[in-house]
């Protein structure tokens, strides 16, 4: 298993190595030592590669991941797994703001808490947060699922399109055009699937509430102008 020590190896060499793996090749595992908050660690992965990061990372770790499996044994800075296409990203610690921003696919698991704007503008990604999430999460979320085992901060799901939000704990406040919705069987089933994928064992789907778009802002209506 190749080990890349960022204390001695330039970031460029790390990412170049990861990019040299083609879609369709066999899975390879890289271990990354001493990330120490570096930015853009393991970005642009385009093939089946497993990356184990031993330590905490800075901005945009695993950005645009497309098929890789990245685990951070530490915390992640802003924009982790931003615009993920496919694959899995797991953060053992906390994640800073913008986690999973604009993600289009794949699964992001945050074992600790996520800060504000978790899943902002999400476009298909599934995000599972074991802890709490900060304010403005899932802002303008277009599609995908955001599952929170803890509490959610202010203005959850503001200006939401079709992303689906599930929160087990308290929601400090809902954003404009976001409402609580009925939990139907298919939702319970979807949650169960996500728990399975994200390695969540200790909670049951029934403990969650579902939130989604009231679809009031879909076409402009003067009587909703205050919500803009």
């Amino acid at each position: 298993m190749p080990v890349i020590d960022l204390a001695t190896t330039p970031l460029r060499d790390l990412n170049k190595a990861l990019h040299s793996i083609q879609q369709g090749s066999n899975d390879v595992t890289y271990e990354i030592a001493n990330p120490r908050g570096s930015h853009a660690v393991a970005v642009g992965i385009a093939g089946p590669v497993t990356v184990e990061v031993n330590g905490s990372v800075g901005y945009y770790c695993a950005g645009m991941n497309d098929g890789g499996t990245v685990t951070v044994h530490g915390s992640a800075g802003p924009g982790v797994a931003e615009n993920m296409m496919s694959g899995t990203v797991v953060i053992e610690g906390d994640a800073s703001q913008y986690a999973g921003a604009t993600g289009r696919g794949g699964l992001l698991v945050i074992k600790g808490n996520a800060a504000s704007r978790c899943g902002i503008s999400m476009k298909g990604i599934d995000i599972v947060v074991h802890g709490n999430i900060g304010h403005m999460s899932a802002f303008m979320g277009q599609s995908g699922h955001l599952v929170v085992l803890g509490d959610a901060g202010d203005a959850l799901g503001d200006s939401l399109y079709e992303a689906k939000l599930f929160v087990r704990g308290a929601v400090k406040s809902l954003g404009a055009d976001c409402i609580e919705k009925e939990m139907r069987p298919e939702h319970l089933q979807k949650l169960a699937e996500l728990f399975e994928k994200a390695g969540v064992n200790d909670v049951r789907p029934e403990e969650f509430k579902r939130y989604g778009s009231a679809r009031k802002l879909y076409n402009f209506n003067i009587d909703n102008a205050d919500a803009y």
Partner: protein, 301 residues
């Protein structure tokens, strides 16, 4: 736009290393602010003594015979030179006289900060050069804050660098961009404040000074800042006994905190914290928007 670092020591055995630790944190934030850098260090206060940090554009002239001239002006003091800055140590009872005496004998000298324990150093240039110039690594103390600046709309000058002094033993660093600083500055000027720069952060500093002058404590002043300041900001404020942090309600400029038994640390990015002892087992989190945080030696004591 800028980088901020702050370090508050709980474990007094770390105090000799404060300058060393803070310097490394500051240099890590070079990418966020290559234009200028500054640092405020809170040393142990000597009983009955106070300090004034001053800066000069022509230190060779202004600092020559300063100790002697102060003495002649009736202010017995000790002057320690640090490149373009100097620290004047005097009896605490005479602190109020320093400003007027300096205005008379060294009209071009600028006062960076004053108090029982604070020393403020700031200059134009890369953080590593600024740190080296003032030999920050050799400084000890109980807590300190630092700042690296990427100028947005105001000039890159020494006076535009942070920290800004907001009162005795108080100073402020800022990351973000205020959108109502021009109006606020006009109001504060009307209230009698003076300004050296076009910098929005200086307005924030003056605002806090003015609010506290009206009788608010620092926490109350920061709370009212949340109402009165528009735009994006993260403030870290140093006081004699600790520091405070507050972010704007949108909170999109980055901020990370770490706490262990030995210290509380603040950084614009996690990178700034990675060299702290025991960081791997520290509790690391991000401050909430529109929330005022405080760490205080006296309350801890």
């Amino acid at each position: 736009m800028c980088g901020i670092v702050g370090l508050f020591l709980k474990d007094s055995r770390l105090e000799p290393q404060l300058g060393q630790l803070l310097s490394d944190m500051l240099i890590t934030m070079t990418d966020r602010g290559p234009d200028s850098a500054g640092i405020a260090i809170y040393g142990s206060a000597a009983e009955g003594r106070a300090k004034v940090t001053i800066q000069s554009a022509k230190p060779g002239i202004d600092f020559a015979d300063l100790e002697q001239d102060l003495a002649e002006a009736g202010l017995p003091a000790r002057v320690v030179l640090k490149s373009t800055h100097a620290v004047i140590a005097i009896a605490a009872s005479r602190l109020a006289d320093v400003r007027s005496v300096l205005a008379a004998i060294r009209p071009d000298v600028r006062i960076m900060g004053s108090g029982d324990s604070v020393e403020i150093y700031k200059e134009v240039g890369l953080p590593k050069d600024v740190v080296a110039r003032f030999d920050v690594r050799a400084m000890g103390g109980s807590h300190g804050i630092g700042h690296t600046r990427m100028a947005t709309e105001s000039a890159v000058t020494t006076l535009g660098a942070h920290p800004f002094s907001t009162g005795s033993d108080q100073c402020l660093v800022h990351n973000g961009s205020l959108s109502n600083h021009n109006n606020l500055r006009r109001e504060l000027i009307r209230e009698g404040m003076t300004f050296e720069t076009q910098n929005d952060s200086e307005v924030a500093a003056a605002y806090l000074t003015a609010e506290m002058a009206k009788g608010k404590d620092l926490g109350q002043a920061l709370t009212s800042a949340l109402d009165d300041l528009d735009g994006f900001f993260t403030f870290v404020v140093g006081t004699k006994s600790g520091f405070g942090v507050v972010r704007d309600p949108i909170a999109c400029k980055p901020a990370v905190m770490a706490e262990t038994d030995r210290y509380v640390a603040f950084g614009s990015e996690y990178r700034a914290l990675v060299n702290l002892p025991g960081i791997d087992s520290a509790s690391v989190w991000e401050p909430e928007p529109a929330t005022v945080y405080f760490w205080d030696h006296q309350k801890a004591a």
